[in-house]
């Protein structure tokens, strides 16, 4: 078996040895250094830019301002076409909308000179009244995008006159009437912060003209094909004149789905005809790329005395910052990938406004709304259980989704459009719950253990779901090519950004062909050399791209049998992965493939496959944790985090495990440490690793990830997605554990020591 097998990543050793692999490693040594002058104001109009001093600097090769850039509006979101995000962004604009927004682009032959030039550029601004508090955005007098022509490709509720980037609502049944019939009603308000991705490799792009006079861009991106489309359309370059190469990428988590530096290097190289590169500073990664959408979630639940949950209502205010990338879709996922967990309700409603503010824009980030929604929903479920004096495990068991069931929400809510009805073919939440409770020693530990006068421990849990690609939208494709000596090239558009997708796709090809995985040489992704893939997002690679690989491999197997049959002069043949057999006669694939190139019936065997999903089977998970709270300081330590996951069959159990472990730690960071802070003028004040606290290895005690037996009939080899599900539970799990330990409900992320300490003081 080549699948459900832990093999090292195909690129693992090369990365460990530090082989040149990332964008900046591959950039031309003489590439012009490109940097961006960033706005010091949250909201201002550029009245004049004086470039005269800089133009005279010998080492400066070009300065680009809004005056010479297209004023086409587009979305940087890096989604399929037409995008469900508003067209509200220009490459450079006369108006700057957050501190860190792009003002001008400078390129030169040395970094020192470019830095000097950035200091010498004189810009005169007319200050505008910024909108900084997202809760006041809808009624603020100032409008972030009003009158600038921003628009949407289809109705998404975009209304810049109200600072609305997007809006959505839906209702199944009559929620208000159902609430009236309920024995108890819980209402709670939850806040989540604008977490930063903090991937280790800063956003990097390099551009150059090749020997065919085509513009090449190497970029640390999750979406090379979208980049080609968006750059080509916006800069009016025929797509045939563009090539985008994605080398190894140093982490993305959604933050590299969008376009960031690619435009700048493209324009500099077009203008100077010289190679150029941009490497974002760490400050720029924090301040001028993306964050997670900050949200306020109002959660209302109606239930009966016996623990039956009758109605759910989720109402969200989401902050998209200065530009509306992913505004609608992240909002919708907050409901669509949480509320169906309790599918037996009589009524369910979801609505939300996504508002513009003059802050760093929000975009895609692993979990994609489901984290925010899960925090509110799963905290609220515990509160309802407490109101009814029912065990939080029992209330979930009674109401949660089971196999062969469905939810009306699947049909109503998609991502930016209507959803797709589906019956759940694999859902092992029950088994996940059993194992999680056992591993956590829930029975002996629930709800709390007093360790000393100072320390108390509590346990908490939550359930979660995610998706596997976007049905009828996400498309993946693959090409397989047989070489002499019997090995294959697998060319895929799917963009491995460190997840190991190259490896698991090679495993799927190998399993289908019956060959060893080391016979498959993977290449991803390059708009010239690999077939199309929407990109690495929406937990789509295993499920969607995986299917395309299987299709290509099945066709390759047929091809091998066809040429085998010809070799044995029409006799029926079989292929066992090494030898092609006709009765007792045989020839190795190595030999036959060499003959195919050089001596007999010469031809190249090449096959392709492409796939678009018709459903999006959710992976599920039960997360539970034991936390310890220091009552003197308010510090919360996660002693043990148990995650039990149903992601169908794991193609590579080790890599699946690391995906969940990594997602959990990122999300524990969001829950406890990652406190994005702004000065009153809207300036991000902790935009460095010195001040923005991501979890270190010292913060992480024990993480225990396991998978239950599960098989998704529609999945490749029974697999569902695993990339995002690990992100969803930590905020609610840790919040529930703190509640069980202290009796205090924390509703505002991150749950820092100060907040816990203050809440304790208030309670006393």
């Amino acid at each position: 078996m080549q699948v459900n097998k832990s093999i090292p990543k195909v690129d693992g050793m090369g990365l460990m040895l530090g082989r040149p692999a990332f964008t900046d490693d591959l950039a031309d040594a003489n590439a012009l250094i490109v940097k961006v002058l960033r706005s010091p104001h949250a909201y201002a109009e550029i009245m004049a830019i004086d470039t005269s001093i800089v133009d005279k600097m010998e080492e400066i090769k070009c300065v680009i301002t809004y005056e010479e850039v297209t004023d086409l509006l587009f979305s940087r979101a890096g989604q399929g076409y037409p995008e469900p995000s508003p067209y509200d962004h220009k490459i450079l604009d006369k108006v700057v909308r957050y501190i860190g927004d792009a003002v001008a682009i400078v390129a030169g032959t040395s970094e020192v000179a470019v830095d000097q030039a950035l200091c010498k550029l004189k810009v005169r601004y007319r200050l505008l009244e910024p909108v900084l508090d997202f809760e006041e955005a809808l009624t603020a007098k100032s409008k972030v995008h009003d009158g600038d022509g921003s628009h949407s490709m289809f109705p998404i509720g975009h209304d810049p006159t109200k600072n609305l980037a997007a809006q959505y609502q839906m209702e199944v049944g009559d929620v208000e009437a159902t609430f009236d019939k309920c024995d108890v009603l819980y209402q709670g308000r939850y806040y989540t912060q604008a977490q930063c991705h903090a991937m280790t490799e800063p956003h990097t792009a390099t551009a150059f003209y090749d020997f065919q006079d085509r513009l090449n861009i190497i970029s640390s991106t999750q979406t090379p094909f979208h980049i080609r489309r968006i750059i080509g359309k916006t800069l009016d370059i025929p797509l045939s004149k563009l090539r985008i190469i994605k080398p190894r990428v140093g982490g993305g988590y959604g933050g590299k789905q969008a376009i960031h530096g690619e435009f700048y290097v493209a324009m500099v190289t077009m203008k100077t005809k010289q190679a150029s590169k941009i490497v974002y500073s760490r400050k720029e990664v924090f301040e001028s790329t993306y964050t997670r959408h900050q949200m306020r979630v109002d959660m209302t639940i109606g239930a009966m005395k016996d623990g039956t949950i009758k109605a759910l209502d989720m109402n969200i205010l989401s902050n998209t910052g200065a530009y509306g990338e992913h505004s609608l879709t992240v909002l919708m996922v907050a409901g669509a990938k949480t509320l169906p967990l309790y599918n037996k309700v009589e009524a369910v409603a979801f609505r939300g406004d996504v508002v513009y503010t003059n802050k760093t824009p929000a975009g895609a980030f692993r979990g994609y709304g489901a984290v925010q929604g899960n925090f509110a929903l799963e905290s609220a479920i515990d509160e309802v259980a407490a109101m009814l004096n029912i065990d939080p495990v029992e209330i979930r068991r009674k109401n949660m989704m089971r196999e062969k069931e469905t939810s009306k929400i699947f049909e109503i809510m998609g991502e930016g459009q209507e959803g797709t009805a589906m019956t759940i073919e694999s859902c092992k939440l029950e088994a996940c719950m059993d194992l999680c409770l056992e591993k956590l020693k829930w029975k002996e530990k629930y709800p709390r253990t007093k360790i000393s006068d100072r320390k108390v421990r509590g346990v908490g849990l939550a359930i979660a779901m995610q998706g596997s690609g976007i049905p009828y939208i996400d498309m993946g494709s693959a090409i397989l090519k047989l070489n002499d000596d019997g090995f294959f090239n697998l060319l895929i558009g799917a963009t491995d950004l460190g997840t190991g997708s190259d490896t698991i796709l090679a495993q799927m090809a190998a399993e289908t062909l019956g060959v060893a995985t080391d016979k498959i040489i993977v290449y991803s992704s390059d708009t010239d050399l690999t077939p199309f893939d929407t990109g690495a997002y929406a937990s789509s690679t295993t499920y969607v791209s995986g299917h395309s690989v299987i299709i290509a491999a099945e066709r390759m197997k047929e091809e091998i049998l066809r040429v085998g049959k010809r070799y044995f002069e029409g006799a029926e043949v079989t292929f066992d992965g090494i030898m092609i057999w006709s009765g007792k006669d045989s020839i190795s694939l190595d030999d036959l493939s060499t003959k195919l190139f050089y001596s007999e019936h010469q031809e190249q065997l090449v096959t392709s496959g492409s796939y678009v999903g018709t459903k999006s089977p959710p992976p599920y998970m039960v997360g539970g944790a034991e936390v310890e709270i220091d009552i003197f300081t308010g510090q919360v330590t996660v002693l043990n985090y148990v995650a039990v996951v149903d992601c169908g069959v794991t193609i590579n159990p080790n890599l699946a495990k690391i995906q969940v472990e990594g997602a959990l730690v990122q999300s524990i960071g969001m829950t406890l440490y990652e406190d994005i802070q702004y000065a009153p003028n809207g300036r991000l004040i902790n935009g460095s690793f010195l001040k923005y606290k991501v979890p270190t290895r010292m913060d992480i005690k024990n993480i225990d990830v396991s998978f239950v037996n599960s098989y998704e009939p529609s999945g490749p080899f029974g697999a569902k997605s695993v990339g995002e599900i690990g992100s969803d539970t930590p905020p609610a799990v840790i919040g529930n554990a703190i509640k069980n330990a202290l009796g205090i409900r924390m509703t505002d992320l991150p749950i820092t020591a100060e907040k816990v300490w203050t809440s304790l003081k208030i309670k006393l």
Binding site: M16, T200, E201, L690, R697
Partner: protein, 152 residues
Amino acid sequence: MTLKINGSIYKTLVDSDELLVDTLRRLGFKSVKKGCGTTSCGICSVLVEGKLVPSCSYYSIRAGGKSILTVEGIEKEAREIGEFITSEGAEQCGFCSPGLVMAVYAMTKELRQPSLEEVKHYLAGNMCRCSGFQGQHRGILNYLEVKANASK
């Protein structure tokens, strides 16, 4: 300046405020990456005179005449460490991997049979945003155990 990198001599002009990470990358040692520029992430770690330093905050001028070691210079040991990390899948995106390898290499020279807590403490300055650290620790502890058994 004359720099001794991975046992070879390199003569190069450096600016007075040039950082070692930039000099090393300019000379082709692409394993050395810049992650933060504030000594916080450990990704640019190299050894200078056997001591682990963040090359993003070390002036090249200080390295004159000193012996510098990058992953390119310890291929054999890097491969051994790499086998244990990749067997857990814990390198993930790999951007922080060369820095981690240098830190693990330095740790084995400084600590004898460290416990998990000692390993975590030694490597605390090596950030990783992908793996969640657990897989790295599984791999590193296995590596240390095999190494200890081999030297018995």
